[in-house]
Symmetry: C2
Subunit: 475 residues, 2 copies
């Protein structure tokens, strides 16, 4: 496929489609050249950015680009971690951040209708004001809902509430040639033909551009409490995480951190929050668990049962937090996990492999040992309830050359992805593939599945113009 860049004539037509909202050359902000991927070798600026307001504008822009073989890249808040919204081949970025209206609620049907540029945080607050909850809460709260759907974003509550996928009922989609389609309906379940909604979710803007979403909301929980359970090692910690769930306790969040991670974060925060030992025995790993319930009585029941279940399943001790202030403090350690890495290591790389839960400890050990062997710094934390491990790596030598680190990191990640594949895991639990991880996808899924995915891509986008090189690498 030969891609064109917008000509002056095309740019004039774009300006007539979206008057006052078309940017070129020096008027394009530097931010469009990247997302929040920690390691960036190169900035990729588009030829044109168009801030869109309506489905009709998106359709007209796509039609124009399609007729002229110009790459199209949809983009939300740009908070992704795999380069999914970056214009690696130039062309036109369709910026949906100004399509940020919450269009309305149908509460007896548990649905809220939104434009894709609404921020997840704004939606969560607005839903709460309407007496319901929109549970998906990815680490990055200033992402757009459209971006969350495009990557099937997860977050800490996924263990109880599922990922973004579980909240999408219907969507308006513009295909690369400008066709506008409605996928799904505002219904609770459906067996009505191929499920195009689910195919779109997690397709990272490579199949169509989402311009409206109907999302499920749920009844809110009013009570929360948290536990910090202390373990001699990571194995017993992860094992207990499954036991808690098998006991029917249904935690909202269940996060693990090893002792090294906690000390690193506490050093960054300049504050010691977690105990280091129990009766002289060193703590190896922490399980941070939140519960939420609709009533005080239900919470009382859970709190009684949970503490016992932790201790019965290997916890050296367990601490309870049931005031807003104490809950905030105990979670602030986990909340600073990523920042404490980026603050100390301006150059780093990350992956978010997801594994069968019992495979987590061995994988983390493998990653730590591989890092030592390769002279790379390694930190990890993640979701003990769903097997999703965030591993960050960074050069131990502060003067390390970027190109050398990227080559090392590439080798490191390749080995981790191979390990994950061999142990029943997948590359990404919630961050997606983008362009940065696309070559590894071929390695992990194999040529036959990739060929099938390419045929599906062609069914939506026969010219390959929509977000080219994302998910599936360029051929």
């Amino acid at each position: 496929m030969a891609y064109n860049q917008p000509t002056p004539e095309v740019i004039e037509k774009l300006k007539s489609i979206a008057p006052g909202r078309v940017y070129t050359g020096a008027d394009i902000k530097e931010d469009y050249g990247h997302d929040e991927m920690p390691v960036v070798e190169k900035q990729y600026l588009p030829a044109v950015v168009v801030e869109v307001l309506t489905t009709e504008e998106v359709s007209a822009i796509c039609k124009l680009c399609y007729e002229n073989d110009i790459p199209i890249v949809p983009r939300g808040a740009g908070t992704g971690l795999s380069g999914g919204c970056v214009a690696t081949l130039g062309g036109v970025i369709i910026d949906t951040t100004k399509m940020n209206k919450i269009l309305g609620y149908d509460l007896p049907n548990f649905v809220v209708r939104v434009q894709p540029g609404v921020l997840v945080n704004d939606l969560a607050e607005d839903a709460a004001a309407h007496g319901v909850a929109y549970p998906p809460e990815p680490g990055e709260k200033f992402a757009t809902v459209g971006g969350n759907v495009a990557t099937n974003a997860g977050g800490m509550k996924a263990v109880k509430y599922g990922c973004t996928r579980d909240y999408v009922r219907a969507m308006t989609v513009v295909l690369p040639d400008g066709q506008v389609m409605k996928f799904g309906a505002e219904v609770a379940k459906t067996s009505t033909g191929y499920n195009l909604v689910h195919l779109m979710i997690g397709s990272e803007g490579t199949l169509g551009i989402i311009t409206e979403l109907s999302l499920k909301v749920v009844s809110p929980m009013s009570k929360t409490a948290s536990f910090l359970a202390l373990f001699p090692n990571l194995e017993s910690c992860i094992e207990c995480a499954s036991k808690i769930r098998l006991a029917g306790l249904a935690p909202q969040s269940i996060e693990y951190m090893d002792r090294y991670t906690v000390t690193s974060i506490e050093k960054y925060m300049d504050k010691v929050s977690y105990p280091a030992e129990v009766d002289g025995e060193p703590i190896g790993a922490y399980l941070l668990v939140a519960f939420d319930t609709a009533t005080e009585e239900e919470m009382d029941t859970i709190m009684e049962n949970a503490a016992e279940t932790f201790v019965d399943n290997g916890a050296m001790d367990v601490m309870v937090y049931d005031t807003p202030e104490s809950i905030r403090t105990v979670w602030s350690v986990r909340a600073n996990a990523m920042e404490s890495i980026s603050a100390n290591h301006p150059v780093s790389d990350e992956c978010d492999i997801v594994l069968p839960i019992p495979e987590m400890p061995a994988y983390i050990k493998y990653a730590n040992e591989l890092g030592k062997e390769m002279n790379l710094g390694v930190r990890n934390c993640g979701h003990a309830g769903d097997g999703n491990v965030h591993v960050n790596t960074y050069p131990l030598d502060a003067d390390c050359d970027l190109a050398k680190f990227m080559a090392d990191s590439d080798e490191f990640l390749k080995k981790l992805y191979d390990y994950a594949t061999e142990h029943g895991g997948q590359m990404s639990g919630e961050h997606g593939i983008g362009y940065a991880k696309a070559p590894y996808l071929v390695q992990t899924l194999g040529p036959d599945v990739i060929a099938l995915m390419r045929r599906i891509k062609l069914a939506f986008d026969p010219k390959g113009l929509l977000n080219p090189g994302k998910v599936l690498p360029l051929e």
Copy 2:
């Protein structure tokens, strides 16, 4: 596409692939000519039935059929309601019912691995014996799990536990040309390329043949209790159903029945189980609600809150059932809803439209009035928690000609489907499309979405040999 039938040479090759398990001519049981669709104009027997035991056999059969342009129809227990597993063009039926092994559990990972021919009922019992639960419980418990995945089967517990879709993590799939692929992984969440698992779910055997499944299990609930809430009319009954859920009470099942349905069922059962009036005021509709919890204490809390919430939201009265015997009795009325129709009306037709929940009462009224207008019998019941209404229609005249009834029913269904489309609904909540409903799918989704679905079908099945004419009508 010109389809061939198996030649004697092909049949010999099939016999060498599956020795002793290949049936032709008079050896093919009559049952293969249909599923459990209530109205059947015609039997469609295949040329060959092969009972398969392994993925390798399925692959070899597909490869052989693919080379010879022979239609392939995968089939489980044949309990579908839309003709999805019927060989309308002859060819080869691949019968998976002998692939009925439960292969094993990974409890800390909440996964059970099964062959597709396992019966849902057997899986539910086996999971319980392992201390976990497989919640999907469609009305037909002697369906295979593979068939449930193929149609995304729902059932009464869907309001709390979701549909079959929500329990599938990974699958082994044979493509029509014989390629064997693994989709997904035994992980709790994933953002790793296009989600082929979700595309397969509900595709009714038209994209690939599922030969192994990894399914999610959950921690079991030990306590159950049920309520029968009595309402003056259907509108207040459905409205209360949403209020119960908005109050955070999370019912396991929430079924509605109108007075006419209840009297019809009671007549069939020859037993009056439900009250007809409250303090002299006639009851118009019933809400039958089940709750399940992990502990006695949680159930106590719910029972206190639920009774109050019913009465606060329009219930004339509410009755509580908390012993196994009383729960069985109150639910036996709902359980006999379908049988009471088929027993009295050997010829009938059905549809299972799903709507936004608040649209249910008006839709039911429309269906009843349309039936009256067209001189058709109409009965309905369904899932008040998810907008899924089962409407059955039958000739009022016992001597009615089958062809006349089918023409009338066709007109009736067309109007219902149009109504559903106009009111934000979809054709099927849980039964699927099969061949019987395929023409209506074009009417409701429109030519552009159907064309896209056809292109997706081609990505999997370029020769159109796999279950042709199902979901998408023959061109």
